[in-house]
């Protein structure tokens, strides 16, 4: 059975040595309007990190307001709502989705599969520039009258487009427009990733030999292609409600004492559309992280990933199930409460394939040869925070337990832990891991240790205690608690603690940024395969790989991606393109 996955089998030599590629002729076509997936990946990553920094600063301002209300005079209730909205949307869509799929997807899919480039390089280039446009439209909302929308990242109507909500004048229009543009750009990139995975693999690279990184990114892309259209139509319909006066989501209502002309629409319809996108979105972020972290753990623990086939099927099962759990975000939305039975059951079932993944990561560590490199440390931190956030998901998924916790800080703590902190740890681990391939130099180890320890312990100190504020009953999206009979004074000291931790963790990210820039010039030279890894991207003839990746000969794949410490082998790893020593007859 196992041999079917890893065993050597005869592979015919490549028949086409060099595929005709468009080769750039000028600096502009090489580095700006580039069709090289690797350059596009870097463009995506830098843009995502730049906009992510904006979201990071917004989180500082929010945390400052919560700990020391009123001390920064420019933060008023409207500003606070604008911060939470922009922070959430930027982090989820413009940073995490773009970085995992546009960044890591573009860089790793062709290299890991032994392809020269994406299937449609021109479309790929277009995808990035449209993404950049979406980011610029989003940023422009900071500079229009009324500022960006403050409707919360979920943008629930009717309030999103009515007065009483900041940014209802222009901000919401720009937000919806930006999302529409983003989805158009993403669809171009996404189709590309899917076609490349299905059609562009090197000889011998069967689907069941693909590294889990590719499985994660591939499945996430399929999810995104199916889920984003729901957000797309939701955004278009709300834009019509706001601009043309249609009533898709608007019942008849009285706003600020005035009878409006709307009537007959359904606010809950928007929530269904939003979460039909929004829940798969969690896995659009999580599945690439699952895949990447599997490869980090296997490589740095010098051990085969445990239960590869189970891991693949778990990714696929999670992907499928993620489309039938969306209304667990809506248990107290006023939808028919009988839906709760169905969605609680599907939601808790999804815990099983997810738990299998956790067991297999931990069992990969078990009986390994663990090198505590920075990528490995971040992978361990990922498991801790992901398990923590996943388990609190069992509270919120179990319909009746969700009722008291819904819309409280417990939810904020949960989703930050599970889809904020955990995937970002994977991003950090992955950047430390692949930086040498991208630049030819290692990131500085000492700065990396500093970055890791403060980020890991600090992020846990921010979000673990935050659950208990929610348990206490503190609602989310309050810029200050005000006086209540049930929140004790001491809760404010917890808020101060969380804020101090958040400011420190935020500041240490600047150390990481410095490391990224400094090591470009002064980092230790890495050579082509500093981690002695098996996957194809480490076997390129040149590092960083040039346009076309492979020189004259495409690689041929003979084995799965996890041949570490194979009994009888001379070295502790066997690259995927290493032919078997004794060829079977």
């Amino acid at each position: 059975m196992v041999d079917a996955v890893i065993g050597p089998e005869p592979v015919p030599p490549a028949e086409v040595a060099e595929v005709e590629l468009y080769h750039p002729h000028s600096w502009i076509t090489r580095y700006v309007f580039s069709q090289d997936a690797k350059v596009i990946a870097i463009q995506y990553s830098l843009t995502a990190m730049a906009i992510g920094l904006v979201a990071l600063v917004l989180s500082w301002l929010m945390r400052w307001q919560l700990a020391f209300p009123g001390t920064l005079s420019f933060i008023d209730p409207s500003q606070y709502l604008q911060y939470i909205t922009m922070h959430g949307m930027i982090m989820v869509v413009y940073l995490l989705t773009a970085l995992f799929l546009g960044g890591f997807g573009n860089y790793l899919i062709p290299l890991m599969l032994g392809a020269r480039d994406m299937a449609f390089p021109y479309l790929n280039m277009l995808s990035y520039w449209i993404y950049l446009l979406a980011v610029l439209v989003l940023v422009s909302s900071f500079f229009v009258p009324g500022g960006p929308t403050g409707a919360g990242w979920t943008l629930y109507p009717p309030q999103a487009i009515l007065q009483g909500t900041p940014g209802y004048e222009m901000g919401i229009i720009l937000m919806l427009t930006s999302l529409i543009i983003f989805i158009i750009g993403f669809t171009m990139g996404g189709l590309n990733y899917v076609v490349t995975v299905l059609q562009g693999r090197a000889r011998g690279m069967t689907l069941m030999r693909m590294p889990l990184t590719v499985w994660g990114i591939f499945t996430a892309t399929v999810l995104a292609l199916l889920a984003f259209p729901a957000l797309f139509v939701g955004a278009v319909m709300m834009l019509f409600d706001r601009v043309l006066g249609t009533s898709f989501f608007m019942p008849s209502l009285v706003s600020m004492g005035e009878q409006l002309q709307y009537g007959g629409g359904s606010p809950i319809l928007f929530q269904h559309l939003f979460w039909f996108f929004g829940h798969p979105e969690v896995y659009i972020v999580a599945l690439p992280a699952f895949g990447i972290v599997s490869d980090l753990i296997s490589t740095h623990a010098r051990r085969n990933i445990f239960g590869y086939r189970m891991m693949v099927w778990a990714i696929v099962a999670i992907g499928v199930l993620s489309f039938v759990v969306w209304a667990h975000h809506m248990y107290v939305s006023g939808m028919n409460p009988w839906f709760g039975f169905f969605f609680a059951t599907t939601t808790l079932i999804i815990a099983i394939p997810t738990a299998i993944k956790v067991y297999n990561w931990v069992l990969t560590l078990w009986r390994g040869d663990i090198h505590l490199t920075i990528p490995m440390l971040f992978a361990l931190a990922f498991i801790v925070t992901f398990v923590n956030g996943g388990l609190t998901g069992l509270f919120l998924g179990n319909v009746v337990v969700d009722v008291p916790l819904s819309d409280t800080m417990f939810v904020v703590a949960h989703f930050h832990m599970v889809m904020g902190v955990a995937p970002i740890f994977v991003i950090f681990g992955a950047l430390y891991h692949w930086y040498p391939k991208v630049t030819g130099r290692m990131l500085n180890e000492g700065l990396g240790q500093l970055h890791f320890w403060i980020t890991f312990l600090g992020a846990y100190a921010i979000f673990f205690p935050m659950h208990y504020l929610g348990l206490l009953g503190v609602p989310r999206r309050y810029h200050e608690m005000g006086s209540t009979s049930f929140v004790p004074e001491s809760a404010q000291s917890l808020n101060v603690f969380i804020t101090v931790a958040a400011l420190i963790v935020g500041a240490v990210q600047l150390v990481f940024l410095f490391n990224l820039i400094w090591s470009l010039r002064y980092g230790r030279e890495s050579g082509g395969n500093p981690w002695r890894a098996t996957t194809l991207e480490w076997q390129t003839p040149e590092t960083p790989p040039p346009h076309g990746n492979w020189g004259k000969e495409l690689p041929v794949v003979y084995r799965w991606a996890y041949d570490y410490n194979v009994p009888g082998a001379k070295e502790d790893f066997l690259p995927q393109n290493r032919p078997p020593e004794t060829s079977p007859a």
Binding site: V5, I6, P77, P158, Q159, L162, G164, T165, P251, S252, L253, V254, G257, P267, A301, N304, F306, G307, Y308, V332, P337, W338, A344, I352, A355, I356, Y359, V362, W366, G368, D369, I370, L372, L377, I383, V384, N388, L391, F395, N398, V399, V400, V401, V403, P404, D407, W453, Y468, L471, L472, P475, Y478, H479, M481, G482, S485, F486, P488, Y564, N565
Partner: protein, 277 residues
């Protein structure tokens, strides 16, 4: 091995924080103690899983460290182990889901003897309506809303004339009497949230949502809005007073019906406003 230590610290520290920290839910004031129990079961199961996984990781990181005593072992799969863990997980999940769904069934099944109480939200205040002697609420529509009729009751509906309308003021409930909370919003989404009741539900303009509860403890409790409703969201406060029967009846006797209130507005208009054409 700082990382192994850090992992142990996280497992132990989280457990200590959970047991020793002063931050815990507010004492319950409704019949939904079952929800608290399900939460406790969930804490035990998930807490055990968390501590087990993190401590096992710490053990692995220490025992199988590079340069340590153990040799790495090549083992792509272990069907028996994988299936054992899968089944154990499924059992743990079922142990949380089953009581959860059992309690949810109670939560969505409103008892026949529950009396209606209507809560109306608008940016950013709460109003309340109780059925009059007929025990039934009259119909309402957002299009009826005016300065004199802020809840939009149907002035031609005889059932609504004796409804008790509390426009500013606290909601009073009688202890140990189940109530069906009918929720209505006239503008945007809101959420009726009383932490001590544990129940919570969004209020959606254009429809009437509901849940039910039985107050079990007298006292005055905060009403908060738990669904983002614009800049005034955190300030949207009210109070619900749970009282014994005598105090409740006294309070009820002091309240005005819809007919009385609209009559009063007519009298006020006649006395103080210029005559209408």
């Amino acid at each position: 091995m700082p990382i192994a230590l850090a992992l142990v610290l996280i497992a132990v520290g989280s457990t200590l924080f959970h047991t020793l920290s002063p931050w815990w839910w507010t004492p319950i004031a409704s019949n939904w103690g079952y929800i608290d129990n399900t939460l406790i079961i969930t804490f035990w199961i998930t807490g055990t899983a968390f501590v087990a996984v993190v401590l096992f990781m710490a053990y692995c990181v220490y025992r199988f460290r590079h340069g340590g005593p153990e040799q790495p072992h090549y083992e792509p799969e272990n069907k028996r182990l994988e299936w054992t863990l899968t089944i154990a997980t499924a059992i743990g999940v079922a142990a949380m889901l089953a009581p959860g769904l059992f309690v949810w069934h109670q939560f969505v099944t409103v008892p026949d003897e529950a009396t209606d109480v209507e809560i109306v939200a608008r940016q950013w205040s709460w109003s309340f309506r109780l059925p009059g002697k007929d025990g039934r609420l009259g119909t309402s529509d957002v299009r009826n809303i005016s300065a004199e009729n802020p809840l939009g009751l149907n002035p031609r509906d005889p059932l609504g004339q004796d409804d008790v309308v509390i426009e500013t003021g606290d909601l009073h409930l009688q202890i140990d009497k189940p109530v069906k909370i009918l929720l209505r919003s006239t503008d945007v989404l809101h959420n009726f949230y009383v932490p001590e009741f544990r129940g919570k539900m969004d209020m959606v303009p254009g429809s009437v949502t509901y849940f039910w509860l039985t107050p079990t403890r007298t006292g005055t409790f905060d009403i908060l809005c738990a669904e983002l409703c614009g800049v005034g969201h955190p300030q949207m406060r009210g109070a619900v007073v749970v009282a014994d029967e005598a105090a409740y009846q006294t309070w009820l006797g002091e309240q005005r019906t819809f007919a009385e209130l609209s009559g009063m507005t007519k009298i006020m208009k006649a006395n103080f406003m210029p005559a209408e054409k």
